[in-house]
């Protein structure tokens, strides 16, 4: 028992942040769409597509071809990879938005299709580019940032020892998301669209356009989340490497009540639970039970924080402008 409890020390903090970062980035993306009333199941697929293109981009801009023609690009390769990831993921988001918001495909079905598309598409392309279906190296990574002045500070030092730059970006993104949602015109519109699309429409807001915009934002953020996996944390792409993190992000976002701060806390909580499970494995407990920890912990936490809300509305379809009611 002591052995198990000894897991809880400051050494958990670094892994907690590392494990939370990709989830957090995707979850923030999900909360934008959620705030606009769009349930985004496609986070997983967008992340995966991003992870792939991040690695492809980084690889390509370091290739001899590029080095000979524009050598200065080589040093920027990881960043260009990040850019590729964001572009690819946003394009996929646009497809998702187009089919679900514009063409009226069911949000969940379209999301599942996007995930399938990404899972298959990345492998097909990997085979095309690298003649392998397993994994390939990006030949580089985004830089880690070590806040050296914190090195001697007890807890913070542990927290920010060797963290990828995307972690710092994600902190900024949480703050920005908070500001955007609660302090900007766009945020006001997003929230009104999510809460009462009909009212928003009569106020002259283009409901679908707002929803589409949030889907694109979720694409950008999933781009960062995917790049974080393949280019921030590892420096390689592996088939289906997101491993359900998009769904965890969806859960974190729901858990966090679709607010940036809540979602950040939920993601951190999930990171912590994951970190505990990782460290408990070295304590010789049956692996399957240890692997359950993050999920069980999430359920317990959710039950503890949930108020009794029996009638909540969700899975809201895109707005129907013309309702067939002849009520004068």
């Amino acid at each position: 028992m002591d052995d198990v409890l000894s897991v809880f020390d400051t050494r958990l903090l670094g892994p907690m942040l590392r494990l939370a970062t990709p989830i957090l980035l995707a979850a923030i993306g999900g909360l934008y769409t959620q705030q606009a009333g769009v349930l985004n199941i496609a986070l997983e697929g967008m992340m995966l597509m991003a992870a792939f293109w991040a690695a492809v981009g980084a690889y390509f801009f370091q290739s001899d071809q590029v080095a000979q023609n524009a050598a200065w690009l080589v040093t920027l390769a990881p960043w260009l990879g990040l850019l590729c990831a964001v572009i690819a993921s946003t394009l996929l988001a646009a497809v998702f938005g187009l089919f679900s918001i514009r063409f009226g495909a069911d949000l969940v079905v379209a999301g599942i299709a996007i995930n399938l598309f990404a899972a298959g598409g990345t492998i097909v392309l990997m085979q095309r580019f690298f003649t392998t279906k397993g994994s390939f190296s990006a030949q580089g990574r985004l830089p880690d940032i070590c806040l050296s002045f914190l090195r001697e500070v007890p807890v913070l030092g542990e927290l920010f020892r060797q963290q990828n730059i995307l972690l710092y970006i994600s902190i900024v993104i949480v703050v920005v998301a908070h500001l955007v949602l609660y302090r900007t015109r766009f945020g006001l519109r997003v929230r009104s669209v999510g809460e009462n699309p009909e009212a928003a429409q009569t106020a002259g807001i283009q409901v679908r356009r707002i929803q589409f915009a949030t889907v694109l934002i979720s694409g950008v953020l999933c781009g960062l989340a995917g790049a974080n996996l393949s280019l921030g944390y590892l420096g390689q792409f592996t088939t289906n490497m997101t491993g359900g993190r998009g769904f965890i992000a969806l859960a974190a976002q729901t858990f966090g009540g679709a607010t940036p701060i809540g979602t950040a806390l939920a993601s951190l909580f999930f990171g912590l639970a994951d970190a505990v499970s990782v460290r408990l494995q070295t304590r010789g407990l049956p692996s399957q039970f240890v692997l359950m920890i993050p999920y069980v912990a999430t359920i317990v936490a959710l039950v503890l924080v949930s108020r009794r809300r029996l009638f909540h509305s969700r899975h809201r379809p895109s707005v129907e402008v013309e309702k067939a009611e002849a009520t004068p």
Partner: protein
């Protein structure tokens, strides 16, 4: 009169609608309808439920696209594709169901869609300032920083009007604006509207209330069954004539009723207390009783605990104290189903939220509460054919037009939905009928019908608890009246003795409490 007409002929109409036709699956909402609006007039648009008034105005506001017909605004033919186009043309609309975002503040709601920025951010201060300015300019009192979900219905309506005014509209359409207001609030609203007209605004008033029309409009357009019937000057017509135009026959506007013959106590509430959704006390110890063969009316300004009291009585809300007896049985902890089994029926105040399920069929809607009982079901099995016959029977007996049992109830007009609810609740001959706002948003023909049914039912020996924001309705129907203020019944009147004046004062909490309850 002559002057008026001359004047009318001179003023160019701001809006002309001609030949408007709009068809929904299975329903023709408008057929070759027409409408003219002159500058600086209050133009009432009246008609029964399903007459197509709202549809016509929603077309003008760009919510629906007409299948045929033309719209001229300010002399030129326009295509109004969205509310934004309508607003750009200077047309605003205040909907019957408010188009507000509950979690946002008044100022945010008013500025929504035309927000000002300061740097990258939304300029909340400017929005508040703008709202305050509008509020003073037009004399519509609201607190710009209050959240919509925290303010009263009357205030919400003011926000809706300010929202339109803030967009610089010159034509304002109001869909049943007084349906949710107290008489005082309604008077205030018309005061404001006339002020707007003096500033050159043109107003379309969709309503059922003929008295309102007579007092507060320049001209009246009557519609029936999706078609245009005629337009008359208000000064040259009468309620009777308008009623005849709407319904196509003479109707009785007063309620004929004999004296009540009260019997045994059916419902007894003793010091009932309950909390609202935020957990604050909403009903603070209410006691009263309703006897068989009488109508007990509860009057009061909305938001004084009536809704919570009804929910507590009908089992939709937990009581925090006191007891409720139905035919001598304690029911304060009983489920809604148990209360129904003990003889309670309930016409809920919000027919769309509680009273019906929009996407479900009329048959499904017609049986709820009794769906598990013979003859509608045998053990676990629904008696499908009997159910359809049951629904047809209700449709026939309550004259619900255009209804087929298998059609979704959402295809019916509001008044017909309300009729179905009344039919359903009366069908099992309960000993107690709790009726909340039974005629809200219902047209004049139907009101007559509803009132007659309630009286008939009382005379058959049922106990009726009536809660209505329409003072005239409570006065016309109730044998005894309790006035609720701040979660308590502050006064009780015998129906025939009460006057609108006295009740109004009691509703404001300043009346002479004649028989205040414990």
């Amino acid at each position: 009169m002559r002057m008026e007409e001359q004047h009318g002929a001179d003023v160019a109409p701001v809006v002309v609608m001609r030949g408007i036709t709009k068809e929904f699956p299975g329903v023709i909402a408008n057929q070759d309808a027409r409408f003219d609006l002159r500058e600086g007039e209050v133009h009432a648009l009246v008609g029964e439920n399903g007459a197509g008034k709202s549809t016509l105005m929603k077309i003008l506001f760009g919510l629906y696209t007409p299948d045929a017909g033309s719209i001229t605004v300010g002399g030129s033919i326009v295509r109004i594709e969205s509310p934004q186009t309508a607003i750009d043309l200077g047309i605003g609309m205040v909907h019957q169901h408010f188009m507000l975002i509950p979690s946002l503040t008044v100022a945010e709601n008013i500025s929504l869609g035309m927000e000002q920025k300061r740097g990258p951010f939304y300029d909340l201060d400017a929005a508040i300032e703008h709202a305050r300015q509008l509020s003073t300019t037009y004399g519509l009192r609201v607190d710009p920083s209050a959240r919509i979900r925290d303010i009263s219905v009357g205030e919400r309506q003011r926000v809706e009007i300010l929202k339109a005014l803030g967009r610089g509209v010159r034509v304002l359409i109001l869909d049943e604006p007084t349906a949710v207001l107290t008489p005082q609030e309604a008077d205030e609203l018309f005061h404001v509207l006339w002020g707007l007209v003096r500033q050159g605004m043109s107003i379309v008033l969709i309503t059922h209330k003929l008295r309102e029309v007579m007092n507060n409009s320049d001209r009246v357009t009557v519609m029936r069954a999706g078609q245009y019937v005629g337009t008359v000057d208000t000064a040259a017509t009468s309620t009777e004539e308008l009623a005849r135009m709407m319904v196509g026959r003479d109707i009785l506007l007063r309620v004929e009723k004999g004296a009540a013959q009260p019997g045994a106590v059916v419902l007894q509430a003793v010091s009932v207390t309950t909390d609202d959704d935020q957990g604050l006390p909403a009903v603070r110890g209410v006691s009263f009783e309703v006897r068989a063969g009488e109508i007990y009316g509860i009057a009061g300004v909305e938001g004084n605990g009536q809704s919570e009291l009804l929910e507590a009585l009908t089992g939709l809300r937990k009581t925090s104290g006191g007891s409720i007896l139905l035919n001598g049985v304690h029911i304060e902890r009983a489920s809604a189903r148990r209360r129904r089994e003990l003889g309670m029926a309930h016409i809920p105040e919000d027919r769309l939220v509680y009273g019906s399920s929009e996407s479900s069929s009329i048959a499904d809607n017609a049986v709820i509460g009794y769906h598990y009982h013979p003859p509608l079901a045998r053990r676990f099995w629904l008696a499908t054919s009997r159910r359809a016959r049951w629904a047809l029977d209700l449709i026939r007996r309550f004259d619900i037009r255009g209804a087929r049992p298998e059609a979704p109830i959402g295809s019916l007009s509001g008044g017909n939905i309300q009729k179905l609810i009344l039919a359903r609740e009366m069908s099992r001959e309960p000993t107690l009928l709790v009726a909340a706002q039974p005629t809200r948003g219902v047209d004049i023909g139907a009101i007559e019908f509803f009132h007659r049914k309630l009286i008939e039912y009382r005379d058959a020996g049922a106990a009726i608890l009536l809660v209505s924001a329409e003072l005239s309705e409570v006065l016309a129907l109730a044998d005894r009246i309790g006035v609720m203020f701040d979660g308590r019944i502050v006064a009780e009147f015998a129906g025939e003795e009460a006057t609108e004046q006295e009740l109004g004062l009691a509703m404001l909490g300043v009346g002479d409490a004649r028989r205040a309850s414990a």
